[in-house]
Symmetry: C2
Subunit: 395 residues, 2 copies
């Protein structure tokens, strides 16, 4: 089965412009044949890349028609010159596409602090625009990869009465992944119609249940960006409650799928681990503990080593800054109870727990026994390859 | 030069009791010939090991005469049975030493969640007590090592008029190291005299300037313990202001030296890195940023890779949860300015910065340009060996 990622009214494409050391695609364009409703969610890092600064300004209009993106250089910590480069990149795309400059949004990912090779991007844009195609979103998914090992793209279609709408999205992740948001780029294309307000609310909700529940290494990037363009060509509109409901469900699913793909492809990751915290007094407590466990290098390395070392989980819970009672804590690895009332369940339980850790995907469920609130965070293990990838990243 | 770690009136010793997989020393005793003033600082983790629970109770008296310690097993998450084991360990030491049981303090380090082999410890104690010697503190330093690669011991002597006092301390660290406190044990012996109140204040101050400024991986253990015994045999007393001043200076220096030894010997560490944050509006802000940078896996792996990737430092600063202005930030690697006003200083500065990273010890100085407050945190790099050590720890 060939993955088909197409949305009516959208075309896309990407080429290798020479921004990367290898000869992979590194500059891409997504184009809607008609101006679309556009919304975005951006990094909460106070150090924000030039394209983020530009997009946050432009997206206030609620309209856009194209996105131009590059990998190989984050255009971050590049000062006023960086913002000029981001604008020049948008201008070159607008010129090649024959649309107004302010309808173009920009994204970048890669090394921080180096000037963008804007000439290479300007040179590539006419070529990209000359070969845009409905199936080109997959090329964009490739062009935004950094240390990602596979391109991330998802598409879903839904029928409402005699009409149907599509939501397709591409994303990149790999390192510097944590919520608010992951270091990631994600571009969502859909043919529903919407007001910017309705579209933003839908996106914010979907991001909260997807990208904001994942973490690889706790580092938040300077470039995180999720953009959504809705061109309305399906004839369906979020003003229709049935469409709004169906759209939210589809969007939630598309972004959740991409979020899990990002964690699964975390730098050096060998396992996808879901940390489920329940029995908390409030959701914030549950989330705080889930993240503390998910970020603990000792927990992550034990999982990599397939060692049912639940003591490190207890230690992480105890230092999370949330009031707990060790003696009311239960921990399951998959279906196996490994900690009962704060104490280990013995060697046979540990042996069974170790088997759970040998799987590619697993859930660690922590019941605090303090209340009824829950939170889930998805993360990956910490392998020697993570270190290798990040020690050698720029060399 | 042979390191001499002796304090008048103290004897110590350790043997291999078989708690560890290798045949290294794993149970030790420190004994003061007279009952000493005793104070302690303990982990802030809410999951506290049995010996911590016991010591916190016993030390309220302000008096102790012996410490018994084991490695190979943390006696943590072991429930009421664990506390009974900690008491039994103290009882066995008291019996062998011929002193009251409540004058014995206990410490453990090693794997969490397994029952202590108390019979082995009880069996070893008469043998240890039979061979206690003034130079035995170094044996204790060896006996408390877990993944430490070298024993940590420091001794200083100071003369006041015709008398002199000694402060000697042994410690262990390696992983699970972060402030409040490091995963560490530290036992300080001195022959000054003091009230528990004066001794505690002096210890708390010295810990704040030493163990509470270091971090390896951000994990706080269940067993962190610093104990100090002061037997008064020097004839000097902290009630004398000259002695109090000299003692504080010596104690600060002894603990700071041990703290740096712990970071230097962080699991898999190849470099000792001091993160100095200055120009902050308040000390808390400076400290928060220093820790965020020190804990960032991306920063730590870049340092391991000797890559002057200052963009990751900027990104860590930006997500630390402290209000900053990217454009007022300066970053030095050693003497080399690599970031000026939030932007890179170019390739020749980066090349010079890379040279700084090639040293075993280096300072990264971050000036926020927001005020005059400072904070320093000492950490190490994150190497592939850290992962290997922690993935394989129990196997």
């Amino acid at each position: 089965m060939v993955l088909k990622i197409e949305v009516p009214g959208f075309v896309a494409g990407a080429v290798a412009a020479g921004l990367r050391k290898d000869q992979r695609r590194d500059v891409g364009v997504i184009f809607s044949k008609v101006p679309a409703c556009a919304v975005g969610v951006f990094t909460t890092n106070q150090v924000q890349a030039a394209p983020v600064l530009l997009d946050k300004e432009r997206i206030k209009s609620g309209r856009a028609q194209a996105v131009v993106v590059n990998s190989g250089n984050a255009n971050a910590c590049t000062g006023p010159g960086g913002v000029e480069d981001a604008k020049a990149m948008a201008r070159a795309a607008a010129s090649a596409l024959g649309i107004a400059e302010d309808l173009v949004l920009v994204a970048s990912t890669g090394v921080i602090g180096r000037p963008l090779n804007i000439a290479a991007i300007e040179g590539a844009l006419p070529k990209i625009v000359g070969q845009l195609s409905p199936s080109g979103l997959l090329e964009v998914a490739e062009a935004i990869m950094t240390t990602d090992t596979f391109p991330k793209a998802v598409s879903r279609q839904e029928r409402i009465a005699d009409k149907s709408f599509t939501v397709a999205a591409v994303a990149k992740g790999a390192g510097m992944i944590r919520p608010d948001m992951a270091t990631m780029l994600c571009f969502v294309c859909t043919d529903v119609g919407a007001t910017p307000k309705a579209l933003y609310e839908s996106l914010a909700r979907a991001v909260d249940g997807s990208f904001n529940t994942i973490t690889v290494d706790g580092d938040t990037s300077t470039n995180d960006t999720v953009l959504m363009l809705a061109n309305g060509l399906s004839g369906l509109n979020l003003e229709d409650p049935a469409c709004a409901k169906a759209f939210q469900k589809v969007l939630d699913e598309v972004l959740a799928t991409l979020a899990l793909q990002i964690v699964e492809d975390g730098e050096g990751a060998t396992k996808l681990v879901s940390i489920l915290v329940k029995g908390a007094s409030c959701e914030d407590d549950a989330r705080q503990i889930a993240y503390t466990v998910a970020h603990s290098p000792l927990v992550k390395t034990a999982i990599f080593g397939e060692d049912a070392n639940w003591g490190r989980i207890m230690a992480a819970i105890g230092r999370a800054g949330v009031a707990i009672k060790p003696e009311t804590i239960q921990i399951h690895f998959g279906e196996i109870l490994v900690v009962k009332d704060g104490q280990g369940c013995g060697q046979s339980a540990e042996a069974a727990g170790t088997k759970v850790l040998q799987a590619d995907r697993l859930t660690i469920a922590i019941d605090l026994g303090m209340g009824s609130k829950t939170a889930t965070v998805h993360t990956c293990d910490l392998s020697a390859d993570y270190v290798k990838i990040n020690a050698d990243y720029r060399t």
